[in-house]
Amino acid sequence: MNVTAYLDIDSPIHRWDARWKLVTIAACMFVCASVQKFESLGLILLLSLLLAVFARIPLAALLSAVRRPLAMSALLAPFLCVSAGGDVQCMVAGAPVYAEGVRLSGVIIIRSTAIVIAFAALFISTKHDLLFKALERLYLPKKAVFILMASYRYVFLFMDYFAHTLKAARLRGFSLNRGLLHAKCSLHMLVSLIVRGYDLHEQTAIAMRLRGLGDRIVTRKEFKTTFADIAKSGAIAALGALIMYLETA
């Protein structure tokens, strides 16, 4: 289970109208990106964790979602601590550790964690066809939504193809990280993926035409806004406004 998979359970976040959910959580992520003060940072983390709890995201999926961004922030943090400049907090192994660098590292780690958790709550609780349909209803150009949807479908197909190619190559003694000969093999593999992509697009275009598919997202679900949808969005918007007020006060 990871955040790219839809979790088929019942929860208040699952029942939330996809259009309201998309707009509210997107706004919530931008609130997360704007805060600097530690009390506001605590609140955004709490807000995103509440979303995850209400969406009933399994802990393993949540940890898997935050693992990579945390690793990236962990790489950045030591660098910022020793290069940010300003007041020196302490010395570690002869290198100055700047107070501003430590503060910024903390801000970045909390912000990115909150953003990823909020996004996970959105993605794991919404069927993907509904998410794309919601994007279409929110006036994102139909062609763009269709490209996103079709790409998402083909990513998994190409990953399968790549896994099979890699397995076949490994059975023949190929390794990803050894010498020039293996770099040549990797290069051939890359070219074969691009050529396969080009070949497949022609077949896909014909299939789409034959099935009468244009740039429409086909789903049986119709959206209907209820009072509960507005109340959920309102509650999160109020919390977001409170956080922004605390930030500017």
Binding site: A33, I194, Y198, A205
Partner: protein
């Protein structure tokens, strides 16, 4: 060549979405019905291709493929780049959601420049070898330009990021060299196997 969530100030994230929106709108205006499947499938193919790592000294690198995307998809490449970056953020946690616009601009602008340069070389009637060399050089230059834009964005965000920005840019300059050489070889192979895949 991705900036993670939480690093940039909101105004830069919004400006990035604005710039990426303009690039995407221009690309969409040129997208015909039959191009939709091409952009979608090639976007997925490039996304998976970027998972292939190459050994470079003590570490291994994966190609950004932005030059190749520009050369194969032409003016439509920003759409494929946006889709690819979204999936990278979603599946692997590379880059971010709030920084998607900035990251897309960092990659799409050089991809379009690479395409324009490559088309000029092809238009001038250059032979296959010169096309490969020019394609490779332009792809490398594209990575270099992308790193330059990233340096500028990080520097604008705050002076505290200056040291980090310079270190990242130096690393990407080395990557530009690897990307240039490998892209040239890939363009050569595509010219032989599937020349129609090259948009220019």
């Amino acid at each position: 060549m991705h900036i993670s969530d939480g690093i940039l100030a909101t105004r830069y994230c919004i400006a990035g979405f604005g710039a990426a929106g303009v690039l995407a709108a221009c690309a969409l205006s040129k997208t015909r019905q039959e191009d939709i499947s091409r952009v979608a499938v090639m976007s997925a193919a490039f996304f998976v291709s970027s998972l292939i790592h190459f050994k470079a000294g003590p570490t291994s690198v994966h190609l950004s493929l932005l030059g190749l995307m520009g050369i194969t998809l032409g003016a439509l490449s920003p759409l494929a780049i946006i889709a690819g970056l979204l999936f990278q953020a979603l599946m692997f946690g590379h880059g971010g959601i709030t920084t998607l616009g900035v990251n897309a601009t960092i990659m799409a602008a050089p991809a379009l420049l690479t395409f324009a340069g490559y088309r000029a070389v092809v238009g001038a009637g250059a032979g296959p070898m010169i096309r490969c060399a020019a394609g490779g050089a332009l792809s490398g230059l594209g990575v270099f330009i992308g790193a330059g834009i990233m340096l500028a964005v990080l520097y604008l965000t705050g002076r505290e990021f200056a040291g980090f920005a310079v270190a990242v840019s130096v690393a990407h300059s080395a990557l530009a060299l690897v990307e240039g050489v490998l892209s040239g070889v890939i363009i050569g192979q595509l010219q032989r196997i599937r020349p129609e895949a090259l948009a220019a």
